[in-house]
Each structure stands twice: as structure tokens, then as C-alpha cells.
Amino acid sequence: MTTSGSSSPKGGPSNEQGYIDRGGPLPDGYGDTLIVLLPRDPQWIFAYWEISEKTRNEITQKYGANIFQKAKPAIRVYDVTNVNFNGQNANRSFDIFITPESKNWYIYVGMPKRSYCADLGLLVDDGVFITLARSNVVATPAGSVSDIYDEQWMLVKEDFEKLMKLSGIDKIGASSAEALKILTQRLESVLAVSSKSGSGVGPVRPEKRGFWLIADAELIVYGATEPDALLTVQGKPVKLRPDGTFSLRFAFPDGELNIPIKAISADTIDSRQITINAKRKTK
């Protein structure tokens, strides 16, 4: 569903009633000290973290009661591409200062096809970095055509660029969400254009405010006969309710409607007919 999306964006609020255990809040934390990285795109990675009470206590015991006030919380990001990282051998690294109350961060790394690792820690005035946790390693997606040619399969460069174009490389980014977006946009454009009043099968309220009136008419034909009788309206059979009653609704445009209603008894001996003639003229 992409899609996936289904159902109408205009579909109104979700059904909020009931549903026994009502999706209570999730835990604020799990008592872990950790930092986790996720790749987002060729330039950005995402980090979330947690520092447990236990870790906080250990750190304050070791570095002093006010260490969390004194030192700056930071994430040290390491480029560990093609490196078996041991804490010292990163290709490069940089620090991101985070706010003490934050729990996650989007980090701009700006480099596709590289591997990153990060330490969550505290940067003390004298330049010492106290590491609280080390993350997993993530790789950013390639984001562009590879420079590496397979010797056996190589094509000349111009050809490849032409092929890229044929493949629609300039249009990348079209998505599964696009259909939903298109429909939403169309709805918006529909609503943005000013309106005339509705017509036809049902009234549509003018979207532009101001004093207004809409009126239309429909015709309801109803009646009753023996429950087992055969009833036709304008020659078409109509299903009777168990008690022998019926009710039909007609759109009623200007003009004249002629509605013959005929009932025939179950044994086909008796029959009755009523014809309703209705005229409408709207001024």
C-alpha cells in the first residue's frame, strides 16, 4: 500500500473509541547506556541514545558531582571507511555538541558511500573526551554512479551517460508516495479554485464563505400492500419489506415524473394500480 496509502486523506479522524488496552505510553528508556546510528541518505545519518542512571552515577563518582553541568555533551563521529576501528585509527572525526535534554540527532556527514561510527560522551574543558558509549557502524548509500568499471563488461563513457539518461537518472526521487501526494495536491487545487453552487445529484456547499442558500428536491414514493404481493414501479419489480411496506427515492429534476405503481396478489388473481404524477418547477 503503498503505498501504499489507501483510504481517503479526507477520511476524517481515526476511530478513537474503545480498543481495550489503549496504546499506553512507551517507556522513556530501558536503563541502557547506548548510542545507535541509522543511515538516512547519502549525506545524513541519524543517532539516538540513552544514558542510564547507573552510568550517570558512575561518571559523577569518577569525575565529580557537577561533571554533567561542567562538560559539554557531545557526539564524536568517526569516518571508519575500510578501517577495522579500534578507537584510534579513524580516517577522520568531528564532534557534534548536543543539548543535554536531547535524545536523538540528525548528523550531516556529507559523504556518500562511507562508513561511520560514533561515541556518545562528554567533552571536558581541557579537551578530554569521556566516552559513555560507542555505536554500531553504518554506511551511507552510494548516491551516484559508480566509478568502478568491470573490465570485461566496460562500455565507453559517452554510451553509459546516454544509457543513464535513457534510464531516467535525472528523474530519480519519484516515489510510491507520489500517487497519494498527487491526489492530495489535486484536492487542494480543487478546493483552491472558487466555486459555483452544486448541481445534479447532490448539493455541494460553496467553499467560499458568505451568506448562501442551496435547495433541491427529491421525491419519496411509499406505500404498502400484502407482504407476499408482487409490486412493480414503472414496470420494474420492487422488493417489499417483511411487513409489506415499500419506500423509493427519486432524484427530482425540473419537469414531470410519471410513476405507475402496480401490485398483484400472490395468486395473481387481484391487482391494484396507483399512478403518481409529480411536476417540479424551480424558480
Partner: protein, 528 residues
């Protein structure tokens, strides 16, 4: 003379939405609408093609949650209740509109359509539409592929066991339903991370589909661009989407579904008609919503009030001419590519199945015309499945595809952004606890504990559906997506604690087994 192959892929998926605890549940409509508007029209089309002796090939992913819902007796009953109500309404409408020549044919169309849907669902396929799809597969016309167990977004899982559980559970589910192992897979959201192909290989899956740039950015460069698959180092083939054939159908500006003659999605009698009249066909809360009966065409750049009446015959003509245009464009494209590549290109056209019928009402007509034209009017394009292609072309270049998805901007941002990034710390924690549970209880023999372990696996899988993050990002029905995420995580966390403390609450467990009844035969050891 043959110039190339067309591989048509429809991804059919809905998240698992089933609420036996409620008599009437709004989000279950997603399934009922898709059944009436997409699955049944496609089934009807395929049946008619077969009856008329028209050869065709379609590939469809039927995701495990969709299969579970289509074969669920409760939802089958509820669909019947739903379609009978629509039939009742359509009959009334047909009477009401009989003197309005501009609307009468459309009213008649709905009555016929709903009655046909009821017949196909209840009588022809005995309430289970999987019977239809399986039949088409057994006839060699349709290739059904699988997907992640709950459409979990693999690149954001990090853990190999968690990814493996998604794939293995799906393969087991597919095998039980269709009597054979799946040959291919639609990666959820086409999201691929380097190395994921090895997990597919381990489950004996031979190919997968991905987004255009996943293949274009492969390393080394793919000689044929997206017009031939590559073999990943694991030996699994990666096919990728042709942008041109996608754009003609998807694009906001020049896509077919925007043609003025087609049906307007947003002008629905659920909003238009007298409240007392329409009230019995709305949900219990009485809020006006789309009902699925719409009498107007797109018309042009106008207000909803300014829409003109829909004309089914005109719309059908539009679908036929669009099918002709699509085929003509593929012929030109193949001719060009054929000369350029020196071999038959494969054009992979991938779409959400629900686009056809639900969003683009005439979409199934379009496909029907397209398939018939390809079969009867030309000999340049050959429809093919990925399996058949690989049989005919066993030698392919070896390359490593690039991380990518078919979401907005082409990577993971749609599922990892301010609206939904809070879910991952909980999902990851649940994953690692599930793996821990599987390891600590690998020799469990107590029946109640085994039930709790299996239910924990179900709750984790359900929480992982990429749909929840997607809905949060799209901004509609968000409350429901958040609630589902929290409910499944909380149920998982309780099961974890109960298993740890040996305090399993049997009646509570029975209740959630009854609600979240997907994968009845799951084995928690899939997380080992």
C-alpha cells in the same frame, strides 16, 4: 520481431488491520475497498483473459498480512456485510437516478459492479480470493512473489536476526499458502541495504525488485543500466524499475490517471447526499466519509462543485487510448534500447496494485486493454516474469546494488524523520529482547511459555510494519498508526517481562492471540 520484454509487477499490500473486539472498525475499510476496487477487478480481468485465450504474464507480490486478511473468516464475513450494504445502496441509487440520463448509466454501473464483486467473492472463489490468485499462478499466467513478513523496513532494523525473521517467516507463510516456495520477493518499500541479498539467498529466493537508482548506482557499473538484471555476489538477481513507464502512470502533470474523462476520486455521495438517506451506509459514528460511489469525472481545473457527470463509456475509451499510447511508447523505447544495447532489454514496470482501481478507477481497464493489445496487435513486446527471464538469460553481470528505496527522495527519509524516528529505539530494543528470549528458551517445552514466546514474535513483527512509519510521515490517520506501534510494543514488553518472571497471564495471552492472530504456525526460534 521481438525487441524486448515487459515485466509488469503489481505490489499488493495492506497492513494487518483486524479488530474482532469491535463490531465496526473504520480502518478495516482499507481492505474492503481494495477488495472491491482493485483485487476483484484484477481477478475478473485475468479470468476473462484466460477465457478469451489471451496469453499474459503478471507478477504480483501478495504480502503475508494481505494473505492473512484475505483468508480470515471474520474479515470475509465482514466484507460480505460491507458489499451487501453497497448493493442495497446501489439499487436504491439506481432507482433514484433513473430519470437523470446523465447519471443513470453510472448508477447502473455501480449496481452491476457491486453485484459482480459479491458473486466473485462469495460464489466463484468461496470467500477466499487467494484461491483465484493461486489458480492464475498454477496456470502459469501470474507469478506470485512474497515480501517481508509484515512489510518491515529492512535497512532500519540493523539486526541480521530481525531481518532474517521477516524474510523466513514470509517464505514459510507463502509456502504453506501456495504449495511451493517463492522464487522472488518484493523488498518492503523496495528498501535494500548492501548485503541483504545474502539473507534472500539463505531462504532460496532467486530475485528481488528494487528502485531504479539501486541498480544504476551499483558497483561495478551495470552494463545494461536498468534494462537487464545483475547478480548480486550472493547469486540473487536484482531487477529494477524503468522510470519512463512509471512516470506515465504516476506523474502528477502528465500521468494517465489525471485525464479529465476519468472518475473524480474526491466527489463521493458519502458527502453529497442527504444525511438521513446516506446515514445507514456510514460507520456507526455517523461521520460523513467516502463510500465509494462517485458520479463525477475529473473534468478539469475546477471546484468539486463544478465537476461534470462521469460517463463510463468515455472513460473506457480514454483507458483504451492510454493503453495504446503506453504500448506505443514501450515499442519505441525497446526499439531504441535494442539497437543501443545489442540485446533484448527487459522493461520492469512496478506499481502499487491499489493504484489500479482504488486510486485510478479505470486502471484495471487500462491493464486489460494493454494486455490484449500486446497479445493481439504486435510482436515486438513480450510479457515475461522475472523467473522466465532468468531461465532464458542465465548469464548476467555481477554487481553490488546500492542502498536505496522507492520512497520520497529515494532513500530512508520517509521512514526516518521527525514524525516517526521515535519508534526505532523501541523496535530495536524489542528485537534484541526477542533474540534474547529465543536464545534463553531454545529448549522450552512448556506449552504456555511456547505460546507466549510465539506471541512475542508476532507482536514484534506487527510493530515492525513500515506502514505505521509511512502513515505518520504522510500525516493522515496518524493516531491509528501511533496506537498500533505502541500497542504491539507494549504487548511485546509485557510478554517479555512475564516470560522473564514466569508470570504469564493465560487469559490475557489468549485475548491477544485472538486479536493478533497472524502467522498461526510461527516458531519463535526463527529469531535464533
Amino acid at each position: 520481431m521481438q525487441k524486448g520484454y515487459l515485466c509488469l509487477v503489481l505490489h499488493a499490500h495492506l497492513p494487518f488491520v483486524r479488530h474482532p473486539e469491535h463490531e465496526d472498525f473504520l480502518e478495516e475499510d482499507w481492505l474492503y475497498e481494495a477488495i472491491s476496487e482493485t483485487y476483484i477487478p484484477l481477478i475478473n480481468m485475468m479470468d476473462n483473459l484466460i477465457q478469451d485465450g489471451i496469453d499474459f504474464r503478471i507478477t504480483m507480490s501478495l504480502t503475508p498480512p494481505l494473505c492473512a486478511m484475505l483468508s480470515d473468516p471474520l474479515l470475509q464475513d465482514r466484507y460480505l456485510r460491507h458489499i451487501w450494504k453497497l448493493i442495497d445502496l446501489a439499487e436504491k441509487e439506481n432507482t433514484r437516478l433513473q430519470f437523470q440520463p446523465a447519471f443513470a448509466p453510472t448508477a447502473q454501473m455501480y449496481e452491476n459492479h457491486f453485484k459482480m464483486a459479491r458473486y466473485i467473492f462469495e460464489e466463484k472463489y468461496d470467500r477466499n480470493l487467494l484461491n483465484a490468485f493461486k489458480k492464475f499462478q498454477d496456470l502459469g499466467k501470474l507469478e506470485i512473489i512474497t515480501c517481508g513478513a509484515t512489510h518491515g523496513y529492512l535497512p532500519l532494523m540493523l539486526s541480521q536476526q530481525a531481518k532474517r525473521a521477516q524474510i523466513r517467516t514470509a517464505v514459510q507463510d507463502y509456502t504453506a499458502r501456495f504449495g511451493q516456495a517463492p522464487r522472488g520477493i518484493w523488498l518492503p518499500e523496495c528498501a535494500y541495504e548492501i548485503g541483504d541479498d545474502q539473507l534472500l539467498r539463505d531462504e532460496k529466493i532467486r530475485y528481488f525488485f528494487m528502485e531504479t537508482h539501486g541498480l544504476l548506482f551499483a558497483e561495478p557499473r551495470p552494463k545494461y543500466g536498468v534494462y537487464a538484471p545483475v547478480f548480486c555476489p550472493s547469486g540473487v538477481a536484482a531487477f529494477s524499475r524503468d522510470i519512463e513507464s512509471s512516470r506515465q502512470v504516476w506523474s502528477a502533470t502528465d500521468g494517465y490517471p489525471g485525464d479529465f474523462r476519468y472518475r473524480e476520486f474526491y466527489r463521493d455521495i458519502g458527502y453529497d447526499l442527504d444525511y438521513d438517506y446516506i446515514r445507514p451506509y456510514l460507520h456507526n459514528d455517523g461521520v460523513r466519509r467516502n463510500i465509494g460511489v462517485k458520479y463525477y469525472k475529473i473534468t478539469g481545473k475546477t471546484t468539486l462543485g463544478g465537476k461534470q457527470p462521469y460517463n463510463p463509456a468515455d472513460a473506457k475509451e480514454a483507458a483504451a487510448s492510454h493503453a495504446g499510447n503506453f504500448m506505443f511508447n514501450r515499442q519505441k523505447q525497446m526499439e531504441h534500447l535494442h539497437g543501443f544495447l545489442g540485446k533484448d532489454p527487459i522493461i520492469v514496470a512496478q506499481y502499487d496494485a491499489e493504484l489500479f482501481g482504488h486510486w485510478w478507477f479505470e486502471g484495471p481497464d487500462f491493464l486489460n486493454f494493454l494486455i490484449r493489445k500486446i497479445a493481439c496487435d504486435q510482436d515486438e513486446i513480450k510479457m515475461i516474469t522475472a523467473s522466465e527471464y532468468l531461465k532464458e538469460n542465465p548469464k548476467n553481470q555481477v554487481s553490488v546494488p546500492a542502498a536505496s528505496s522507492w520512497g520520497d527522495k529515494g532513500y530512508h527519509e520517509c521512514w526516518l524523520q521527525g514524525t516517526n524516528d521515535w519508534i526505532y529505539r523501541h523496535l530495536h530494543k524489542a528485537q534484541s529482547r526477542m533474540i534474547e528470549l529465543a536464545q534463553d528458551n531454545r529448549n522450552e517445552s512448556n506449552g504456555l511459555r511456547i505460546r507466549a514466546l510465539n506471541q512475542a514474535a508476532r507482536e514484534l513483527l506487527l510493530a515492525q510494519s513500515s506502514d505505521w512509519a509511512f502513515i505518520m510521515a504522510m500525516g493522515t490517520m496518524v493516531a491509528y498508526a501511533e496506537k498500533r506501534t505502541k500497542d504491539h510494543i507494549n504487548r511485546f514488553l509485557k510478554l517479555y517481562d512475564d516470560l522473564k518472571n514466569n508470570t504469564i497471564d493465560e487469559s490475557w495471552l489468549r485475548e491477544i492471540e485472538y486479536r493478533d492472530n497472524i502467522f498461526p504456525y510461527i516458531d519463535y526460534k526463527v529469531y535464533l
